[in-house]
Symmetry: C2
């Protein structure tokens, strides 16, 4: 495996990208030479059409520090570690509630965690899910990247192998994809490919799609199904909901903020239209059956539905689920929300329909 070391040039490029991405000043191309639609300032009430738990998630205020970014690799690492520690504190209770155990392991040099539910129904005993976590390609190291995998294991009754891939600032593209593919190759000895699915949300949704593109390129076996959730499928800023849901999504907030700054560190100066970075531009012919999740307030609503349409145009079985009122990844924030259970059970049913046994 290659281990790129971050150069001063890398950082110069990164911060140049960040400067260019100042939101609302982004010179997003408008088609037809029209000035676009004026939308007045508004106050959006918290919807009454979702559960109380989901109302709380939707009502959460935007992080007041959303315009403050770390300035050096050391500051990035400290910021990532702080966020990870906060998540990790909640994981033991999550595993206990969902009756899931965790086992750290190393697979051909790549760190990973196996999440195993206490009860695995008979039809899932020869099945294995590979999980790639979210976090904008920068956050979610170690155990802190396993909460979605834990919910999938617990609500779905599957063994889930969650990849703890390397990330910037030390390891930009293609380290994450390389690590995920190393695990995918090694997993061929654990279960037949058609009995396995790949899943992940946000950056993990982008990686899920990139893994299938890479497996096609390298003529590796493809999984029996995939579940990219609210995938970062287009890092270039294209996708209408980057505009329509700006400041509406309380997680990603707007294009050019936070998540895209992190993704620029991952891309490390590479063309953002490269399908392995922005898989919406990839050839999706021959993809396995795919289930996609997003929300009506999701900044990546468009880039989820664009993937769905591309899959359908390529003749792929592809199910889309759009969740009322939810911003980016609302269904894996609180396992007690009925919408969370519902979403993971929907994914589990889809996998059950399409995976080998």
């Amino acid at each position: 495996m290659n281990t790129p070391v971050t150069s001063p040039l890398h950082y110069a490029l990164c911060f140049a990208s960040m400067a260019a991405l100042a939101i609302f000043a982004v010179p997003i191309a408008s088609a037809q030479g029209t000035p676009g639609r004026e939308v007045p300032a508004r106050t959006l009430p918290v919807p009454t059409t979702v559960s109380p738990q989901m109302q709380k998630i939707i009502a959460a205020p935007i992080n007041p520090n959303w315009k403050v970014w770390p300035k050096t690799p050391e500051e990035w690492k400290a910021s990532v570690a702080k966020a990870a520690a906060a998540v990790e504190q909640r994981l033991p209770a999550l595993r206990e509630a969902l009756k899931v155990s965790i086992e750290p392991m190393t697979i051909d040099g790549v760190k990973a965690f196996m999440l195993t539910p206490t009860v695995i129904p008979p039809q899932n005993r020869n099945r294995l899910l590979i999980h790639v976590h979210g976090g904008c390609y920068v956050n979610g190291p170690g155990e802190s990247g396993t909460s979605e995998a834990t919910m999938m294991a617990g609500f779905g009754g599957f063994k889930v192998l969650s990849v703890d891939y390397r990330m910037p600032p030390d390891h930009p593209f293609p380290a994450a994809l390389d690590d995920a593919m190393t695990v995918w190759k090694a997993a061929q000895k654990m279960a037949p490919a058609k009995n396995m699915a790949i899943l992940g949300s946000s950056a993990g949704g982008g990686l899920t799609l990139s893994m299938v593109l890479k497996a096609k390129m390298d003529k590796l076996p493809l999984p029996g199904a995939i579940a990219p959730g609210t995938p970062m499928s287009d890092l270039t800023g294209a996708g209408d909901s980057f505009q329509t849901n700006a400041m509406v999504d309380n997680v990603l907030i707007a294009y050019g903020v936070s998540c895209d700054v992190r993704a620029a560190m991952y891309a490390n100066g590479r063309d953002l239209k490269d399908p392995l970075l922005s898989p919406v531009y990839g050839d999706m012919a021959g993809f396995p059956p795919t289930i996609l999740n997003t929300g009506t307030r999701d900044l990546l609503l468009s880039n989820t539905v664009r993937v769905h349409r591309n899959l359908r145009r390529a003749g792929v079985i592809a199910d889309l689920h759009v969740h009322e009122g939810q911003a980016h990844g609302g269904w894996y924030r609180d396992h007690t929300a009925p919408e969370s259970k519902e979403t993971f059970e929907e994914i589990a049913r889809f996998f059950d329909r399409h995976l080998g046994k």
Copy 2:
């Protein structure tokens, strides 16, 4: 059939509703007692991620007279007739382009049009689609209600029977539903129920769902599949995209404007939560396989995905398609847009998969 005559009380109620619905001043309940999310004024560029034809549809400015409503039944009728005449002018060219013929008929006292494509593929020869047009329960009388049915016939290769149901101001609820059910009952002599689908968008999407609820109530045969497009499934104002897509959708504009004013005339003082008016509140157990369409800018995005989730919770086969950048019903505005052909072909494939032959 009952033929309710519009009373002065009906109009008093209508205009009281309209006054209560002044947009942005609507006291929409906010959950959790929170003040909601402040979203600053913005200019939304026309997305570059859709076809040039769709860009033109999305770029169309909001009708400058969107706050001007007719004040008397006569003014309503004149307004409806004017809009209908404009649509009808374009229909001969549409039928010619899609090679579809039209035949007016009367079925058990209800006016209808049969749309027949020149070429009907063998698998569709014993199939029939029933179409209920949109127009907020007030617009789209006579031939002017047949453009969606024409596209379905032409792109899908189906015979489509489009119901020219009675409408306000002369005929409020339940006239439209009564007429549609009269045709549904009569259609049982034309084809087996499992070989038939019901489709329609906007008010027609609401009616499609209400027809299935009514058929369940009356223990009539159910169709083999349905295709409610961007359904008016909730007239009460609930549904988060009534807020998030207000002024973003250039067709429906906002809740309480235009379409809901018309729907209030249809409801005629009846409880808006009645499932036959707001089918999202109906019991969807036992519904036939359903394909739903909406767009990311659709004011009814939420009320389409809420129906999808209710169907899935009831264990119904339900496919959701959300179209990039499109406002309300973008896929049936211009038959030359590739997104139009794609959407009707997607519906046709769904019907082919689920209808008897």
